[in-house]
Amino acid sequence: MRVMVMALLTVLLSACSNPRQEVTVQLANQLLLPAHEQWHGSNGALRVSAEGFCADELDQAAVEQAFYRTLQSWSYLQPLMLGPLAEGNRSWQVQFWPDKRNLVAHQVEALLDSHSPLTREALEGASVVVQGLTAFEYVLFDKAVDLAGQRPRYCPLLIGIARHQQALSAEVLALWEGPEGMASRLGDFPNDRYASADEALGSILRTQITAVDVLKKKLGVPMGRLNKGVVQPWQAEAWRSRHSIGNLQSSLSGARAVWERVRSLVGDAGLVTRIDAAYENTGQKLAGLPAPLVEMVQDKASLPRLQALYESLDNLETLQQVELARDLGIQIGFNANDGD
């Protein structure tokens, strides 16, 4: 016991003498790990709500509320998704986006046509397309689905997805916790993943900066920015539940939470002010959007507001990717982004 206490003290003292290590430890214990725990908790609530609904103990609105909370915690987690959840194709199991060819609808119906009732084994052996929140959303919100009239068909899928999500988050959480877990890899250096706190901090920042780039994509794809300007409303994330903007807000909050803990390390006070302003500006623009994204992209009068939001995100990304990375001496990417 005495040896363990001494070892812990050594780690803490070492962290205190190195601001970057201190920030990295704080990020791991006060932000990244709790966000994973919160996501796991929301998956548990989603399972309870789905089981309650299918047992006629809860109404559909209760499942929808649980679904929104899960989407929120998942979106918040994405800029913090370092390590296990980003590895092994796991994140595709949570959400299937972008769905360019409406695979979710086709594959859900095909799966349910071929397995009646759906078994746990059939779902676990199926594609990631039908295992995640996008398929859950399809069942819950798509107008083509008569959930009230066809509970025996759809309920096994709702329960199966919720259980799959809970098992997945439990697996990921286990990989974060414990003496060999991801959290410990962000506290004690060198270890089998990182040579130093600098490397770990760089990895956290790369994850967060990449997530801001993904936010641009989540906005830009339905706006048609990658489609010669032709809008693609049905390629918005969470368009069926009309929760696209809520997702963007949650992810921005997660990214900002990283920034709030990193800002003390930045030497250029002017840069701190500019990044603070960029988060504030982007957050305000998001909060001010009057309608769901799937509707706004189809309304030409709304496009300037969306364009302004996109530019705000672009500015935030540039500030972090170029100026913040330079200030902190963090390398953003090389072979992993542009190999051959």
Binding site: G88, S127, V129, D192, E199, Q331, N335
Partner: protein, 368 residues
Amino acid sequence: MTLTRRHLLGMGAALGGVAALGGWAFWQGKGQSPLLLSARNDDAGKHYCTGYFLDGKRAFATPVAERCHDVARHPFLPLALFVGRRPARESYLIDLRDGGLLQIVRGQPQRHFYGHAVFHGAGEWLYATENDLNEPGRGVLGRYRLDQGNLQLVHEGEVPTHGVGPHQLAWMPDGESLVVANGGIRTEGSREKTNLNSMSPSLVVMDRHGELHSKETLQHSQSSIRHLAVASDGTIITGQQYQGEAWETVPLLAVKRPEQPYQPFPVGASQLAMMDQYTASIAIHGERRQVAMTAPRGNRFFVWDLDTAETLVDVPMEDCAGVGVAGDGFAVTSGQGRCRYFSYQDGQVASHWLDLPGGWWDNHLRLG
């Protein structure tokens, strides 16, 4: 003074002498510190041809105009060609004693390099995979003769690689036949891929004069065959990069054993999922019959038993890049973090951080 083969032969011994001075902390008593050759960038985005001893001592870092990819070391002279990365029009012949730039090897009209080349064992010829821009994607093997008087590479013709978008190539054990990874991707002088829905990757074995010995394919046409290594018994291991849907998990390693068809190397689905659809560099440890592979997008480094496919090493490593055999194990560089050394023996994985500069290493290295 004009450099000649005689000068370089004399100085090659000196290079060995310098190498012998080096020594990794954990390497003492095991021999001299090898020279690692690799393309590298700096924080400002400038490109270099570099040589470092594994103990961290820099031999040279020569700035060049184009980003390079792999390195072809001459079999006995202290010189190497740092090969321009797709779609480079230049490669660089470097004097390994001091990093001096002996020649900027310019691509032929309507040709560009793909980042890989090899010297023939007799030292007179170099072969480089290239793109025929008159018929974009058509792979050719550019042939260059080393003018040993002036130490300049002179282009002397080409032969087809019998496939589209060739990438890495290596000698078969006979030293006369080449195995070529035709990636199957068509590009037209840029990095944009123009045929992802009609790719035609293939593994070709041909003689160095162009005659086709065999051409084989894999099940997934969107698995671009990119990198490879050959064991002393002729076993070929290839690494693929999947260009299909982002959520799919398909085989990313394949093997062609002597007298057997080209087929997937038996890697488990969970390991495949960790590779994030992308493999980079492959090395085979001939004595230990081990194959190592980097997966920079999945931030993962692997070693398997070449004969049984048993997993020996499976560890996280950020943006792991080049891998090469050194002593009992493998040296691994990184595009983003510290370089490492791994070895596996008697059920134990040993890992050490190398005193090399961290980050900005390109996807291939050569050791020797």
